[in-house]
């Protein structure tokens, strides 16, 4: 299906989020959309998929101008969107989640639908159980679920807003293959991403947005440097590796055993020193989540000890951990990290130590302004967090971290951040490391892990490697370990 966008405008108050965008996507095309955080990518996609009305402009499908009044209307026109932040996930079964979106049929045949799900899932190597509950899924699995659901609902235009952050390299390859097949069948794919590599291998052509405007289009392949310049209006260079100068023991895990409904991990030992960064690699759902939660007191270990700065905090609540300088930022930022409906100022005030009974609003605003500047958040002190772009939400989340801290636990700290912000945020985090703060972070981006970690722990279905010195690792080796091979001849990293 051919999609044409004509002169699309969208204002949020004074904020001109889409300023006259024209785009022509012939059917069978995989269209890449690139742009810095807050460029207006999601807004444009939401207009196309019926979540927002454009203030002006036209949407033309196969030569016919249409109006799209709602997401369900969009899917009737064959447009389905996979959101950057899947918002609403009720405690219901996958199967019911599927059934909800479909019209007609008071008594759907659950068996048939369950089989559909399984067939579809098999195509992508997704292991989704139709009877599982949606709220037990990881962010990555939810994204998988959404892709399947939209295809099942008959989407002919598939919009994917940063879909690759949650899935493993092999799953990604499989996904890309499928998207190519779908494109081959004449379906139109719109692929929003910050990852130049992904866009380059997948897409047929690329459009770049900046500050609400279409800066230009480019065929694939393209010159990375030039592309980055187009996106940011300036050149960007990767930050340097910082040398590690480790301090005293911040976190000690002894003989730790952790489990959740699906996994059981045991015998985990770790001595984490001040200033050190540990990356947790592995496929989504391989145990990183329970592990990092056990380190923050959110999950009670079934065995072993957790010590923070020499204090035994085993079995203590997260709030006690917090008091000892441990902070945790979750992956699902809108569900666990931020409070929709509250403004940036309110968030910063909440995260600060309280002073007295009454809130000093002037002071709060000043604090918010400071943080907004220093974390380069596109928003105002009174912006509610849900009105921020995905990347800016992530910046806001990082801006909530207090100083000083002994240990920062992060899940996908740069998910959804553009290259510039990724570099910027890590430079901020590394600054903290210099002051003695340690970091443990989960990421599905191997480059990020290798770039920023001092040591790496790899997770594979309930097994954990000992911390491996990053110098001994390469992308290939890490990829193997994540896939479950090469575990027999591990030489554990030098223990600190």
């Amino acid at each position: 299906m051919r999609v044409e966008l004509r002169n699309i405008h969208k204002y949020f108050g004074k904020n001109h989020a889409n300023a006259g965008i024209n785009l022509d996507i012939p059917s069978g095309t995989i269209q890449g959309i690139l742009g810095e955080n807050g460029a207006g990518k999601s807004t444009l996609m939401k207009i196309l998929s019926g979540y927002f009305y454009a203030d002006s402009g036209e949407i033309i499908l196969d030569g016919k101008a249409i109006t799209i009044s709602s997401p369900s209307d969009a899917i009737k026109h064959g447009i389905g969107m996979l959101h950057q932040d899947p918002l609403d996930f009720p405690p219901m079964r996958l199967l019911d989640n599927f059934l909800l979106g479909r019209e007609g049929g008071l008594f759907p045949d659950r068996k048939v639908v369950a089989r559909d799900i399984q067939t579809l899932a098999a195509q992508f190597n997704f292991s989704l159980d139709p009877e599982a509950y949606v709220d037990t899924l990881t962010v990555g699995e939810r994204q998988q679920l959404e892709i399947l659901r939209l295809l099942w609902l008959g989407a002919r235009v598939l919009i994917l807003d940063e879909p690759t952050t949650g899935i493993s390299a092999s799953q990604k390859a499989k996904l890309f293959e499928t998207l190519r097949t779908l494109a081959g069948q004449g379906k139109t794919i719109i692929f929003v991403s910050h990852k130049l590599e992904d866009v380059e291998v997948l897409c047929h052509k690329v459009a770049v947005l900046r500050s609400g405007q279409l800066i230009g289009e480019s065929p694939v392949p393209f010159d990375h440097k030039k592309m980055v310049e187009m996106m940011f209006g300036k050149e960007i260079s990767l930050g340097d590796r910082y040398p590690l100068n480790a301090g005293g023991k911040v976190l000690e895990l002894k003989n730790l055993a952790v489990e959740d409904v699906r996994l059981h991990m045991e015998d985990i030992h770790l001595d984490l020193h001040g200033g050190e960064v540990i990356g947790l690699a592995g496929m989504e759902g391989s145990g990183q989540g329970p592990f990092i939660r056990a380190c923050s007191g959110l999950l009670r270990p079934v065995n072993g000890r957790v010590q923070v700065n020499g204090h035994d905090l085993t079995g203590k609540s997260h709030h006690i951990f917090k008091r000892h300088g441990v902070s945790f930022l979750p992956a699902s930022r809108m569900e666990e990290g931020l409070v929709p409906g509250l403004t940036l100022t309110e968030h910063f005030v909440l995260a600060e130590k309280t002073q007295g009974v009454f809130i000093d609003h002037a002071k709060g605003t000043k604090l918010a302004e400071e943080r907004i500047t220093s974390f380069n958040i596109r928003g105002t002190p009174v912006s509610t967090v849900e009105s921020l772009s995905g990347g800016n939400q992530q910046r806001a989340l990082l801006a909530l971290l207090q100083t000083p801290l002994s240990l920062i636990l992060l899940e996908h700290p740069t998910r959804g951040l553009d290259i510039e912000s990724t570099i910027y945020i890590w430079s901020k985090l590394k600054e903290r490391c210099k002051q003695g703060t340690s970091i443990i972070f989960v990421s599905s981006d191997l480059e990020e892990i290798l770039q920023y970690s001092d040591r790496v722990m790899v997770f594979f279905s309930g097994k954990v490697t000992p911390p491996l010195d990053v110098a001994t690792l390469t992308t290939e080796k890490l990829g193997q370990l994540i896939g479950g091979s090469g575990w027999n001849n591990l030489n554990s990293g030098k223990s600190l």
Partner: protein, 428 residues
């Protein structure tokens, strides 16, 4: 929509239904419609007629009805009396509010005296508080409003010889001597029962209701022994109280249930002591199912119409004449505060213009029983006084000595049910 939203919507729905339920009138809602269209027309016609025909200063009076104006019981008797006044005093006009009782959901947080103010603001010069439930409020209002006349049916504030006398010069308290009516009711029941078991569907427990239930028992016992010549010990007379003048779902016992329980446990005649008609309705249901069940209604003369076949009769109040007299006295300045306890007009207890209390026989009463009842009424008219000793209370203490005649105070303030009656004298 996620689970939380779903619950919110459910919650909202619940609130709406509850508010609506709270606002809805609990009784007699369905039967209201036809009355509604008629009543105002009648009222207006009366007023208009008054304006054109009579030069007299218009006199507006307001009634606070404890139940619905068409409850076919206590409140309707007052409402009908109000219409009687409108017909008989040119220029008079009735205003009313119904379902006025403590905690009534029709008037959240508003007390009877506040509602009386609303009537006054429509020009009412006299307020009738028609229930003992508004007793305190009536006095409070009377004392706060020396310029407004107050009528307190069933109250005793202005009874100089009563226990609760209060100075309240703008107030008259009125009651009919329903003891006689209840005796007739009891008699009709005794003449009809085959099982010898009579149930009394009681409202709440207080002096008035003990007095009336006991009078019914005295009437029943007299006719059982003196007319039928049976043994007093073979007569069972049981009172079950529901807790208020009418059914308030969730608060009182359900009168239909109480009546059913009577009928299902061998009681074949139920006397109603409450404001509404459940006893008749249930008796009819049982009757239609093949049982030999009857009921005696209460309060309002047309009451038997609800279920004529099973109705033995109805002792009723006829407030009209006393209302007319009081209002006239207020209009012409001959008002005299005090307490009136009005007896039937023995010449014709069913005379609309003279008798305060009457008894209308129902179709359920056999010819035989009817004749015997007439005989009993004639005896009463001739001076028979059943409140003559020996009368003992339920706990066995002698209340009226042998041969002595009970005083008005002894009857009015009866502290317990009588010996021979089953049921609570005070609530437990």
């Amino acid at each position: 929509m996620n689970r939380h939203n779903l619950l919110k919507v459910m919650g909202l729905l619940m609130i709406f239904t509850m508010v609506l339920a709270a606002c809805g009138t609990p009784t007699a809602a369905p039967t209201q419609a036809p009355e509604q269209t008629e009543a105002p027309a009648a009222t207006e016609a009366a007023t208009e007629a008054a304006v054109t025909e009579a030069p007299a200063e218009p006199f507006t009076f307001g009634i606070l009805l404890v139940g619905a104006h068409n409850d076919q019981g206590w409140s309707q008797a007052h409402y009908d009396a109000g219409q009687y006044v409108e017909q008989n005093i040119p220029g008079s006009k009735m205003l009313y509010l119904e379902n006025v009782y403590s905690g009534s959901p029709s008037y959240p947080g508003q007390t009877a005296s506040q509602l009386a103010e609303q009537l006054v603001s429509q020009g009412a010069k006299m307020i009738i508080f028609n229930s003992d439930d508004m007793k305190d409020e009536a006095l409070k209002f009377a004392q706060a409003h020396p310029d407004i006349y107050v009528l307190g049916p069933s109250m005793d504030w202005t009874w100089k010889d009563g226990k609760n006398y209060q100075e309240s010069p703008n107030q008259i308290d009125i009651m009919g001597r329903m003891e006689y009516g209840k005796m007739m009711a009891g008699c009709a029941a005794a003449l009809t029962t085959k099982t010898g078991q009579i149930g009394y569907l009681g409202p709440l427990i207080n002096d008035e209701t003990r007095r009336l239930a006991s009078s019914a028992y005295l009437g029943a016992k007299y006719c059982w022994t003196n007319i039928l010549g049976k043994n007093a010990a073979d007569l069972k007379f049981k009172v079950t109280w529901i807790g208020f003048w009418f059914n308030i779902p969730g608060v009182t016992s359900d009168p239909s249930q109480v009546a059913d329980d009577f009928f299902n446990s061998g009681y074949d005649v139920v006397l109603s002591g409450i404001d509404t008609t459940e006893a008749l309705v249930e008796a009819k249901k049982m009757h239609d199912a093949g049982k030999d069940t009857f009921a005696v209604a209460y309060d309002s003369p047309g009451n038997c119409d609800v279920a004529p076949d099973v109705c033995l009769g109805v002792p009723y109040f006829n407030w009209g004449p006393s209302y007319v007299a009081t209002i006239k006295s207020a209009m012409d300045g001959t008002w005299k505060e005090g307490f009136q306890w009005n007896a039937p007009d023995w010449a014709d207890i069913n005379n609309k213009d003279t008798s305060a209390v009457g008894f209308a026989k129902g179709q359920g009463l056999s010819a035989d029983a009817s004749a015997n009842l007439d005989k009993f009424i004639a005896e009463l008219a001739g001076g028979l006084n059943l409140w003559t000793g020996p009368i003992s209370l339920q706990d066995g203490t002698v209340y009226i000595a042998d041969g002595a005649v009970a005083t008005d105070q002894e009857i009015w303030y009866l502290p317990q049910l009588l010996e021979g009656m089953e049921g609570q004298s005070v609530s437990q």
